[in-house]
Symmetry: C2
Subunit: 433 residues, 2 copies
C-alpha cells in the first residue's frame, strides 16, 4: 500500500527563483556589491533573528502585526523586518571598537508578515548602505549615499534619477505655520500628494484643521521641483524660518558635493517626503529613468540618532536602500537586464559509444583551464542529450565519438548558429574562452 | 530625565562577523561559488522558512526540539535546519519543468535550536551541491560531487583529502551476519569508532547482542583503509554477499571516474559511515590535509530517493556539503586564508586646509577608473585621520594640500613602508591598480 504523500508547497509570498533566474539575481547582487566596495563600504551580515525587546525597542515593545515573532525555551525573538534596527544594535554594541564614520552595506532577506499580493513579498531581499558618524557627520556623507545610486544603476547598464528633498525645510515651514504638533499628520498627507493630487491632498489637509492659506502654502511647497537654483529661489519666497533656511543651506552644501563628485542624475522635488519619521533632514528616492510611474526603487535620508534606544551616544547617520527583489521583478518584466553569462557552463560534452572516460578527462582539462563545462553522462539517446543541452542554453556542444578520440579533433557545435567544426583542444579553448 | 535604554545584544549562537572578517568570509563564498559554476551547477535560494508539515514530512510530523517552529495566523512554519528537505520540496514541485540530472548548489543560513557552545552555532552557514536524477543516476554523479572538494579547497589555496566508503558494502556485510534488523544501531556504533576506538566500539556492539565472531568481522571491516586495490582485496576476504560485492563494484566504477577526472586527493576508509540514514550507497567526508584531528569539514553521499515523502517519482541523488561557518572558524584560527584584497579600498584621501572639493573630485575620478577609495571627509585633525587610515589597513593615503592642488602632484604615502612620493594622477593610477 502506498503511503500518503505530503503536497510539496512553498510558503506564499516567500522569495524563490528558479536556478536560471537565480543566476541572474546573483549577477545583479554582485554588480551592486562591486559599487559598495568601490566606495569603500564593507559588508555586515546580521542574524535573521533578533531578540524581541531589541527589535521592538523603537516601538516601546509593541508588536506590530507585520512582524514574525516566536518563542523557543526562554528565547523571545523576531525575524528582522529591516536592517536599520540590526545596524543600530550592532553599532551600539561595538561602538568602542569601530572607526567613525562607520560605513557598511548589508544585502539580505527581511520579513514582513503582510498578506502576500502581486509585487509584495513576505520574505524578500533588501539592500542598505549607511554611514554613521560619532556625535557629528559631514554633509559629504549625504552626497556619498546619493552618489551610490548613480554608480549602481550604471553598473547594471541602467539610468536612474535621484529626487532629493529635506524634512528640515518642511519642518521649518510647518513651524512657521505654528503647526509643529501636527508635523507627522501633515507630512503623511503630503507624502500622498503624488498619488492623489491637489484636490484630495487639500481635503486631507482640511481634516488636519489647516486654514485655506496654510493649505495653499503647503500645496505650493509640495510642487517645488527642479535644479538647486530653481528650488532655492522658489523656496525663499515661502518662509524666513531659521530651520527652513538651514534646510536649504544643507541642500546647497550637498549639491556642491554632488557636483564635485560628478554626479549628474539628480534633481530636487519637495514632494519626496519618505514615510519613516526617523528621517530628520535630507531625504531622497531613486527612480528608473523614463519609468517613474513604476514608483521608487529605493530611498533614504539623514537621521539624527541611529541608536537612541540602546545608547546615550549620539550617532547621526545617513542611509540609502534599494528594494532589490522589487527592482529585480521590474528589470525582468521589462527585459532590462543584460547579463553576461561569464560564469555559466560554456559547453556540454556528449560521449558517443564507449567514450565516457575520454569525455570526463576532456572536461577535467577544460575546467583546469578555467572553462565551465560538464559531461552529459546519463545513459540517454544522443538526440535527447542534444535537447537537454538546448534547454539549458549552453552555447556549445562538444561531441566525442571514436573518430574524435583517434584524431584528437572534436566536433564542436555552436548551438546558436548550428555551425559544426572539427577542432583541436587548443582551438576549443580559444572558441570557449 | 533620561529614558531607560535597552541593552543592545545579539542572540547567543547566531552568526555575525565584523565587517573586516565578513569581507574575508564573502571572499571564501565567492571562491566556492566559482567552482560550482565551473562544474555547471546553478544556484538555488529557497526561503528560510518552510511549512511545518513539509519540513517535518520525513519525521512523520514530529517536531524535533532542535527546530525553530512558530505560528502566525493560520501559518505553521519552521526555520530550515538543512537544504535537503527544501531541495526535495523544490524538485517535487517543479519536477515536470526541470531537466535531469538536475544540478544545483545552495549556500545560506540554517537553524538549529541547540544550546550554543564553542564551535556550535544556532544560526550558521551551510553549503550544499546535489545532482538529482530521474529514476536513475549514473555513478559519474558520485565522482563529480567528490571532485568538487578538490577544486574548492585548491581554489582556497588549501589541500584536502576525501575519504570514501559505502553503506551498501556495510549493509551487505550485516546481511551476511543476518542482522539487517539491527543495521541502524550497528551503523551508529561503528560511526563512533574513530572517536572511541576498538574497546568501546566492541562494548557498544556487545550491547546490540552481537557474537564475538560477528564483532570481530565488523571491527576488522571498520579498519579497512587505503587505495582502491588495497581495500578491494581486503574486503573480498570478508564476504561474498551480493549487495556487499555490488557496493565494491560501485566504488570501483567511481574510482575509475575519479581517475579520469584527474582527482587525486582521496582514499577509501570504511570507518566513514555518515550519520544520516537516508544515504544508501557511496558516502564520503572531507578533511583538511594534515589536520584530520579537527574533524570533517563536510561530507555527503548517495541516496536512493530524494523526495519520497512528496512524490511517487523515484528521484535518486548524490550530494556533497561543506559546513562553511565551521570551516571558516578553522581557517581563521589557524591563519590559513590568504585573501586577496582586490575589492577593498586602495586609498584614503585626506584633504588639508580648504581642499575637500578637490578631494571629492579626485576620489570620483579614481572610482571611475575602477579604483576603490574614499575621502576622509570628517572635520578631524590630520593626525587622527592618519590613525583612522592605519586602523582600516588601507594600503595608501593620498594627501591633498594647497601645494598638491596647484602642482597637480599629490603626496602618496605607502602605509606599509612609510615611503612618501609626489605623484601625478596617472602615476597614482599605476601605483593603486
Amino acid at each position: 500500500m502506498k503511503e500518503k504523500k505530503i503536497v510539496p508547497r512553498k510558503l506564499a509570498g516567500f522569495w524563490e527563483l528558479d536556478p536560471e533566474k537565480e543566476y541572474v539575481f546573483e549577477y545583479v547582487l554582485d554588480k551592486i556589491k562591486d559599487v559598495f566596495y568601490k566606495h569603500a563600504f564593507l559588508p555586515l551580515d546580521t542574524p535573521v533573528m533578533e531578540l524581541s525587546d531589541v527589535l521592538l525597542a523603537k516601538s516601546g515593545g509593541d508588536l506590530d502585526k507585520e512582524i514574525y515573532r516566536f518563542e523557543k525555551g526562554s528565547t523571545d525573538a523576531c525575524l528582522r523586518y529591516d536592517f536599520t534596527v540590526p545596524l543600530a544594535r550592532y553599532v551600539a554594541m561595538k561602538e568602542g571598537e569601530l572607526t567613525f564614520p562607520f560605513k557598511r552595506f548589508q544585502i539580505g532577506k527581511v520579513y514582513r508578515g503582510e498578506r502576500p499580493q502581486k509585487g509584495r513579498y513576505r520574505e524578500f531581499y533588501q539592500c542598505d548602505a549607511d554611514i554613521i558618524g560619532f556625535e557629528k557627520l559631514s554633509l559629504v556623507a549625504d552626497a556619498e549615499c546619493i552618489s551610490l545610486y548613480d554608480d549602481i544603476f550604471s553598473n547594471l547598464g541602467l539610468k536612474c534619477n535621484v529626487e532629493i528633498s529635506s524634512r528640515k525645510i518642511l519642518f521649518g515651514l510647518i513651524q512657521d505655520l505654528k503647526k509643529e504638533d501636527k508635523f507627522n499628520s501633515i507630512a503623511s498627507a503630503l507624502d500622498k500628494f503624488e498619488k492623489i493630487g491637489d484636490i484630495v491632498t487639500n481635503e486631507l489637509l482640511k481634516e488636519i484643521d489647516l486654514s485655506e492659506k496654510e493649505r495653499s502654502v503647503l500645496l505650493e511647497y509640495i510642487k517645488i521641483c527642479g535644479n538647486f537654483s530653481t528650488i532655492k529661489s522658489k523656496l525663499e519666497k515661502l518662509s524666513k524660518n531659521e530651520m527652513f533656511l538651514q534646510g536649504i543651506c544643507e541642500l546647497e552644501q550637498i549639491d556642491k558635493h554632488l557636483r564635485n563628485m560628478n554626479v549628474e542624475n539628480y534633481f530636487y522635488n519637495m514632494a519626496i517626503i519618505r514615510g519613516h519619521n526617523y528621517y530628520t533632514s535630507c531625504v531622497f528616492e531613486v527612480f528608473l529613468e523614463g519609468m517613474r510611474n513604476l514608483g521608487a526603487m529605493g530611498g533614504g535620508g539623514r537621521y539624527d540618532n541611529l541608536a537612541e534606544y540602546f545608547t546615550e551616544k549620539k550617532l547621526p547617520g545617513v542611509g540609502m536602500s534599494i528594494g532589490i527583489s522589487r527592482l529585480f521583478d521590474v528589470l525582468v518584466q521589462n527585459n532590462l537586464i543584460a547579463v553576461d553569462v561569464d560564469k555559466k557552463s560554456k559547453a556540454s560534452i556528449i560521449p558517443l559509444g564507449d567514450n565516457l572516460d575520454h569525455c570526463l578527462n576532456l572536461c577535467s582539462k577544460l575546467r583546469a583551464d578555467s572553462v565551465a563545462c560538464e559531461v552529459l553522462f546519463e545513459d540517454k539517446s544522443f538526440k535527447s542529450k542534444l535537447k537537454d543541452a538546448n534547454r539549458s542554453n549552453v552555447p556549445f556542444v562538444i561531441i566525442v565519438g571514436d573518430d574524435e578520440v583517434s584524431t584528437k579533433k572534436y566536433t564542436v557545435k555552436n548551438m546558436q548558429t548550428g555551425e559544426q567544426n572539427q577542432l583541436t583542444y587548443e582551438e576549443i579553448l580559444n572558441v570557449l574562452r
